[in-house]
Symmetry: none
Subunit: 211 residues, 4 copies
C-alpha cells in the first residue's frame, strides 16, 4: 500500500508515524497536529496530505502496532518450548513495550471511527488467530485454565497497557512486571474460580486492543 510512494514521501510518512506514536503515547491522543508535524520535521500540510485527519493517523498507527504485536506472537510461538511459556512471554512483551499505549484514547468519537477500518479489522483478526492458537495449546496440555478465551486474554492485556502511576518504593518496571505476573497467575488452572458467562469465540469478535 505504501509501496508506490516516492522514497522521500515514504520517509516523511514514516517520520510522521514515529513522531505521532511517541507524542501520543506520552501525551495522549490529543497532541496538536502541528506539534506532530514539527517533531516529524515536516510541515502540517505534508502531514495532512498523508493523513487526511487525526483519525486516519490513528488508524495507521494502530495497524502498525497490531502488526508489531503479531510479529511478537509469532516469534514467541515458534521459539518457546511450550505454549504457556510462549503466551506468557508474548503478554510480558506487549506490556513491556506498551505497544498498545494508544489505548489512552477515550474520545468515543475516535473510538467509533477507528472501528470502521477494514484494514484494522483484518490485522486484528490475524493477531487474535495466533494468540488463540497459543491459548488452545496451553489449555490442551493443562497449563492454562479452560474457561477463558482469546477475548478474555485480549481484554486483560489491554487493561495492563495503561502506564502505571509512579509509586514510591518500586520502579515502574517492577510494578509492571508484578501486575503482569499476577494477571498470568490468574490464568492458571490451579486457583480457578468459576467465571460468569462463557468465553467468546474468535468468530464474532471485534477487538480493540490497540487502544
Amino acid at each position: 500500500m505504501t509501496g508506490q510512494l516516492r522514497a522521500d514521501a515514504k520517509r516523511n510518512r514514516d517520520q510522521i508515524l514515529a513522531a505521532a506514536r511517541e507524542l501520543m503515547v506520552n501525551q495522549g491522543a490529543g497532541v496538536p497536529m502541528e506539534e506532530i508535524a514539527r517533531h516529524a520535521g515536516v510541515g502540517v500540510g505534508t502531514l495532512y496530505r498523508r493523513f487526511p485527519d487525526r483519525v486516519a493517523l490513528l488508524r495507521a498507527l494502530s495497524v502498525h502496532t497490531i502488526e508489531n504485536m503479531t510479529e511478537l506472537a509469532r516469534t514467541a510461538l515458534r521459539t518457546e518450548p511450550d505454549a504457556w511459556t510462549g503466551l506468557s512471554r508474548f503478554v510480558r512483551e506487549c506490556v513491556a513495550l506498551r505497544l498498545g499505549a494508544l489505548r489512552s484514547i477515550v474520545d468515543p468519537e475516535l473510538h467509533t471511527a477507528l472501528r470502521q477500518s477494514d484494514e484494522l479489522r483484518s490485522a486484528r483478526t490475524e493477531l487474535l488467530r495466533i494468540v488463540e492458537q497459543m491459548i488452545e495449546a496451553a489449555q490442551r496440555d493443562g497449563s492454562m485454565r479452560t474457561d477463558v478465551g482469546v477475548v478474555d486474554v485480549a481484554m486483560l492485556v489491554s487493561l495492563h497497557l495503561k502506564r502505571p502511576f509512579d509509586v514510591p518504593g518500586t520502579t515502574p518496571v517492577d510494578m509492571d512486571a508484578r501486575l503482569t505476573q499476577l494477571m498470568l497467575d490468574g490464568l492458571r488452572p490451579c486457583a480457578a474460580t468459576p467465571l460468569p458467562g462463557s468465553p467468546t469465540t474468535l468468530a464474532d469478535v471485534n477487538w480493540d486492543a490497540d487502544r
Copy 2:
C-alpha cells in the same frame, strides 16, 4: 465543610458534582466546563465560583469517590465472614460501580495538580489503611498470597476501572465480572509465581487509584 453554604448553593454544588461525574466518567476528564454547567442546570459562572478551575472540580470529585470506596470497604470488612471474602466483595463492588472511573484522566498536568491536595491524600490514606487490614488478615489465614501488598491490589483495581469495550458475545457486566474474577484468582496462594521486587508498604505510598 460545605455546611455553611446556603441551601440553594449547596444544591447547585451537588448538581454540578453529579453532572461532572457523569460526563467525565463517560467522556473523559476533558468535557467542556460549559457542558458540565449546562447539565447541572447552572451558568458557567456558578460552576467557576464553586470550583475555580477544572482541577478543583476533579479534586472534589476524587475525594467524594474515595470516601464512597472507604465506606464500601468498611462495610465489607464488617459484614463478611472472613477477610478474603470481604476483600473480594470490596473489589467487585469497586469495579462494578466503577467508582474510580475518573481514572481516564490522562493529562499529566491534571495528574500532578491532583496529587498536591492534602484532603485527597488523607482520604486516600484512610482508604488504604482499611484495605491493608483486610489484606493482612486474609494473608494470615492463608487465603491470599503473601508476596503482595496494598499497593499491588490498589494498582490492580485501578487498572480494572477502565470501562471495557463492548465485546460481541458477552455483556459488559459479564465481561467485567470475568476479568475481576481472573484478577482475584491471581491473588490466591495456589498458583503464585514469585514476583519481582517487594510489596510497597502503606507508609510511603502516594496512590492515585481514584483517577
Copy 3:
C-alpha cells in the same frame, strides 16, 4: 445629599469610597467591583445599592477629590504671603497627594459618562474660580507670565498627576518634585516664549482635571 443616610449606611458609603479610591489609584479604574466591596468590608450588593454602577462610583470619587483640591486651594490662598507662592504650593500639593490620580482612566466611555454630572461640573467650576483668582493676582504683581490662563494651569497639573515610572538614581518623590518645579519655572515671565492661541476663559470651560 448623604445627610439623610442612617449612620451605618453612611459608614458603608465612606468605606466603599475609601476602598475604591485606594484600589483605583493603584490599579487603575478597572478594579473588579467585587474587590472594591471586599476591601470595603461589604457585599457587592451593598456597593451596588449605593452606586448603581461603576460610573456612579467614579463620579462620587471625582467630586470628593475636587472638593479636597478646592480646600487646598483656599488654604494656600489664605495662608501664603503672595499669590504666586500660594499657587506654587497648591500645585505642589496636588501633585504630591496625587489627588487626581484617577486620571488614569482612559476609557472614553467613562470619560463621557463622567462629564454629564451636574454635581461634578459645579464642583469643578468652584475650584477653577479660586485657582483663577490666584493666577490673576500673581500675574498682576508680575510673578507669572500673562499669556496663560486657568485652563493651561489645569491641564499642566493634570498631566503631572500621572505617577512617574521608577527611575534608578532618583526617588519617585524627588522626581515628582523636579518635574513640578520645571513646570512652575515654565510659568514664570522671565523665559516666556510666545504661545500659540490664547488662554481660555473660565466661562466656557469643561475641565476634567479630576481624572
Copy 4:
C-alpha cells in the same frame, strides 16, 4: 528580522501593527485582540501567530515607536543650527505625532512584562544617547539650564504624550503646542529655580517613555 517573512505575511504583520497602534493610541492598551484583528483585516488566529500575546504586540509597537523617535532626533540634531533649537523641534515633534501615546498603558503587569525586552532596552538606550548629546550641547552654549538631564527631559516628554482633553475655546493642536512650549520654557536657564536631587545619568537608566 522580518525579512524572511513571505510577502503576504509581511503585509499582514504591518497591517496588524498599524491597526494596533491606531486602536491602542485612541482607546488604550486594552482593546480587544479581536477588534485589532478585524481592523487589520485578518483573523484572530493570524494575529496570535504573529504576536503570541498582547505583550508581544505591545513590545513590537514600542520598538517601532522608539525607532521613529530616534530618527526624528537624529534629523533634528543634523538639521537645526544649534542644539537647543534641535531639541525643541524634537520635543515638539514627539508630542505632535504623539509617537509615544501608548503610554496610556496603566496595567502594571504589562508594564513589567515590557521592561524585560532586550530589544526594547537597546532601542531606548540608543535614543537616549542622542537626546543626551543635544542636551549637553545646549547646556554648553548656555541655552539650557544645567541642573537637568536626559531623564528629566524624557519624563517631561512622556508626561506630555497624554492626549489632552478637548477644551472649549482652543483646538487640541493649539493646546498641545501651548503646553509643550511651557515645558520648554521651564528648561531655560533664566527662570531656573533650584531642583531637589540631581539629574540621573544615562548609565543607570531604564526609561519607559515609549508607553
